[in-house]
């Protein structure tokens, strides 16, 4: 038996013994996600058990070095852990912007001290991070951001406003883009800096979304003092860090759909629409839509798998995450259109108990942000056109 087969056998056995049955069922709402942080609460005992076992094994982030609390696994082994988790429908024990966004950027651009300080707290779920990129007048054109950081001795003093900061009101720390040189060309005067959300001068105000949720905030900085040692990478070269992080964010968002989790769409539809004598979904057009959707979904899963294998083989294009982000988010929107269509009028209930507080329509509305957050679909297509296809610039 090869080492990898042995590893697979051991992984399977370990997961079998350690993943509580409750953590192998599809999530029913966002509250089922464990985000970590100083004020983290577990929504259930099995959730706590599952998180702690995975943390102790280093598998909240299997591929990070063990010295930071990761599992120290190589790409092949990480793939096996993912596959075996997927095979039993195991949930992610910890979801965090620290893992999917900041961590990769710190591993590449952080100082030793920054890595030692922050990475172990991310793997252990102790600090919850938020992302301070967008501003009211800097969305797709992010590099036009205006939040200023002025040098004052060993500190920067930060003033300005961010918007759309997801979970800023729950987050402990922020990774933030600030302008450190207002005279430079727009991409050249930006720095990437980290600070505590409890710092004096930081305040947040939630934004209500069409889904009725408000996990997004306006975030204000009023003379916030941050030590200069908190800059990641070179001062005024923050755009490099920001872009690198965005690649990871986009890869994360493209995989965010409930692919392969939850009841299969065909069954969900059969439950509400019914089927004919031959066992086919009563609504032939809907049946066709679902099947076509599932074909695209399976193909995207293969592409996601291939993207990892290409990266490992050194054949990946750095902008490919934009391609995946585009397709993954458009597909997830399609999934929710189908779910709404399959549910018919039942899916329109907004506040009843039966509808679990309108879970389905709220989730449907939430997915509309998928093709906006982390860079819009139009921006993704622009990146693919210019960077991958090398089409002439406008």
């Amino acid at each position: 038996m090869s080492d990898l087969e042995k590893f697979r056998r051991e992984t399977r056995a370990w997961l079998e013994a350690n993943c509580p049955p409750e953590m192998r069922r599809p999530m029913t709402s966002e509250a089922d996600t464990f985000w970590g942080g100083r004020n983290a609460k577990f929504s259930s005992e099995p959730q706590r058990v599952w998180f702690e076992r995975m943390r102790d094994k280093g598998w909240t982030v299997p591929h990070w070095p063990t010295e930071y609390g990761g599992g120290g696994l190589d790409a092949e082994q990480t793939k096996i852990v993912r596959q075996e988790m997927a095979a039993i429908g195991a949930r992610q024990p910890l979801v965090s912007f620290g893992i999917s966004m900041l961590g990769p950027a710190l591993l590449k651009y952080g100082t030793d001290a920054q890595k030692k300080e922050h990475l172990p707290k991310i793997t252990a779920g102790l600090i919850r991070w938020c992302q301070g990129y967008s501003e009211p007048n800097a969305g797709s054109d992010l590099a036009s951001l205006q939040t200023r950081a002025e040098s004052d001795g060993d500190d920067y003093v930060i003033n300005g406003q961010k918007i759309w900061t997801s979970y800023a009101n729950y987050a402990d720390w922020i990774f933030c883009l600030v302008r450190t040189d207002p005279t430079a060309k727009k991409h050249d005067g930006i720095s990437f800096i980290l600070f505590d959300m409890t710092s004096k001068g930081v305040s947040t105000k939630p934004i209500l979304l069409i889904s009725g949720y408000s996990p997004f905030c306006e975030t204000f900085f009023d003379n916030v003092r941050v030590p200069k040692s908190h800059v990641v990478g070179t001062v005024n070269r923050g755009w490099d860090v920001a872009k690198y992080l965005l690649q990871h964010e986009r890869a994360m968002i493209s995989g965010m759909g409930e692919r392969g989790v939850g009841r299969p769409l065909g069954q969900v539809a059969t439950d509400s629409v019914g089927s004919d004598e031959q066992g086919r979904l009563e609504d032939a057009m809907l049946r066709g839509q679902i099947a076509t959707f599932e074909i695209d979904e399976a193909a995207l899963a293969a592409a996601a798998e291939r993207a990892v294998d290409l990266a490992k083989a050194g054949q990946a294009h750095p902008a490919f995450s934009s391609a995946m982000k585009y397709y993954g988010t458009e597909l997830n929107k399609r999934r929710h259109e189908i779910l709404m269509s399959a549910g018919g009028v039942d899916a329109l209930e907004w506040e009843s108990e039966r509808s679990r507080g309108g879970a389905r329509p709220r989730a449907w509305l939430r997915t509309k942000a998928n093709s906006i957050e982390g860079g819009t679909s139009e921006v993704m297509l622009g990146i693919v056109a210019k960077r991958i296809l090398d089409l002439p610039g406008a």
Binding site: P264, R306, A385
Partner: protein, 379 residues
């Protein structure tokens, strides 16, 4: 298994690409079409294919082949798709070789497989009868007679049927159209009395034939696999063929797309390169993404056929459906973005459009496979 080609597979791709792009660019197909060539492909090139070992790719080593898998066959098909090279590779090296090595008796294997491998025998699979691919609807009758059977009925869209030295025919030996039970596969010599073959010139200038069977006598030793139980074998062989055609469509899509992107970077209108227009940039980017995703799905299907044959049906349905839809999009955008040039016969792009339409129909279009998938998932 990693979803990328390994070193040997990359080498195979390079050698196939070298031979095919050198000896059979699109102009090769154009010449055959314009000459109304009776064979429809170059026998000389087929010999070169055999010498390179391509015709015996799926033939087991003990019958003179190289015993490789569907991934490797897909690699060659993809290169064929890039230049639209007409060749009996699909009918003979992929379909017939698989049918015989999966279902043949030792005698049948030793009789045919070495000849497929050395390029001296051409074979064709005769399945479809109606306008759409519906293998379970097979009606061609096989009636027991003496120690064998008598076949009567019609087959359509028999790829390479007019040049085949051996036909593999799906017939109904029992049951009714639509039923899984009662199908039998037969090995038939096309020169047998009662067979009438008409070559049908197809839109894509590739080969296909209509074949009429009128009380054609076949010996019991012409049965491939088991009597009445041919469906499993047939379905497996068709899945291999579907994976192969999906690969051809990936090659075709990529080639048309490459030509289109090149054009976007060359053609000027309104004082700009047309590739500067965002409306076209975004459509090009979308198409690129579709092709990449389809490529992954097709490779996944081929790897599953090689690694877990019994459970490959869903992955194959996904691959064939995706590839059909993607190729359709690729050729339509290709013609559109070339403007009026794209509509001219003098320009090659139309050849891709025609071939894509044929590949879409071959062994089930995107709707057929969506339906299959829905059935597999019970809705």
């Amino acid at each position: 298994m990693a979803l990328v080609l390994n070193e040997e597979q990359s080498m195979l791709r390079d050698s196939a690409r070298g031979l095919i792009s050198d000896k059979a660019p699109v102009s090769h197909l154009r010449q055959l079409r314009d000459a109304k060539d009776a064979t429809g492909f170059s026998r000389e090139l087929w010999k070169a294919f055999a010498e390179m070992g391509f015709s015996g790719l799926l033939v087991p080593e003990n019958f003179g082949g190289s015993g490789l898998g569907c991934v490797e066959a897909g690699i060659v098909m993809e290169e064929i798709g890039r230049t639209l090279m007409p060749s009996p590779f699909l009918s003979t090296a992929v379909l017939a070789a698989s049918a015989l090595s999966r279902g043949g008796s030792d005698a049948q294997k030793s009789q045919y497989l070495p000849k497929i491998s050395d390029g001296s025998l051409l074979a064709a699979l005769a399945i479809d009868e109606g306008a759409k691919h519906r293998p379970l609807q097979t009606r061609l009758q096989a009636v027991r007679s003496g120690n064998g059977f008598r076949l009567s009925g019609d087959k359509a869209f028999v790829v390479d049927g007019h040049v085949a030295d051996l036909l593999i025919v799906a017939a109904r030996s029992a049951g009714k159209a639509g039923e899984r039970e009662g199908l039998t596969l037969f090995l038939v010599d096309p020169k047998t009395k009662g067979i009438a073959t008409e070559r049908t010139a197809m839109v894509d200038s590739h080969n296909a034939a209509r074949i009429v069977f009128d009380n054609v006598e076949v010996n019991a030793d012409g049965v491939l696999g088991e009597v009445d139980q041919g469906h499993g074998l047939l379905d497996g062989v068709l899945n291999i063929g579907r994976g192969a055609v999906a690969s051809e469509m990936v090659g075709l899509s990529e080639e048309v797309f490459g030509r289109t992107v090149t054009y976007l970077k060359e053609r000027k209108q309104f004082g700009k390169l047309i590739g500067e227009f965002q409306a076209l940039q975004h459509r090009a980017a979308q198409l690129y993404i579709e092709i990449e995703i389809t490529r992954a799905a097709v490779l996944k299907a081929l790897q599953t056929l090689d690694g877990d044959f019994a459970n490959a049906a869903a992955a194959v349905a996904v691959a064939k459906a995706r590839a059909g839809a993607t190729a359709t999009q690729a050729v339509q955008e290709g013609v559109q973005m070339h403007g009026g040039m794209g509509m001219t016969d003098q320009f090659d792009i139309g050849f891709f459009m025609k071939r894509a339409r044929v590949c879409q129909e071959l062994f089930g279009d995107a709707n057929f496979h969506a339906d299959q998938l829905a059935r597999m998932k019970s809705y």
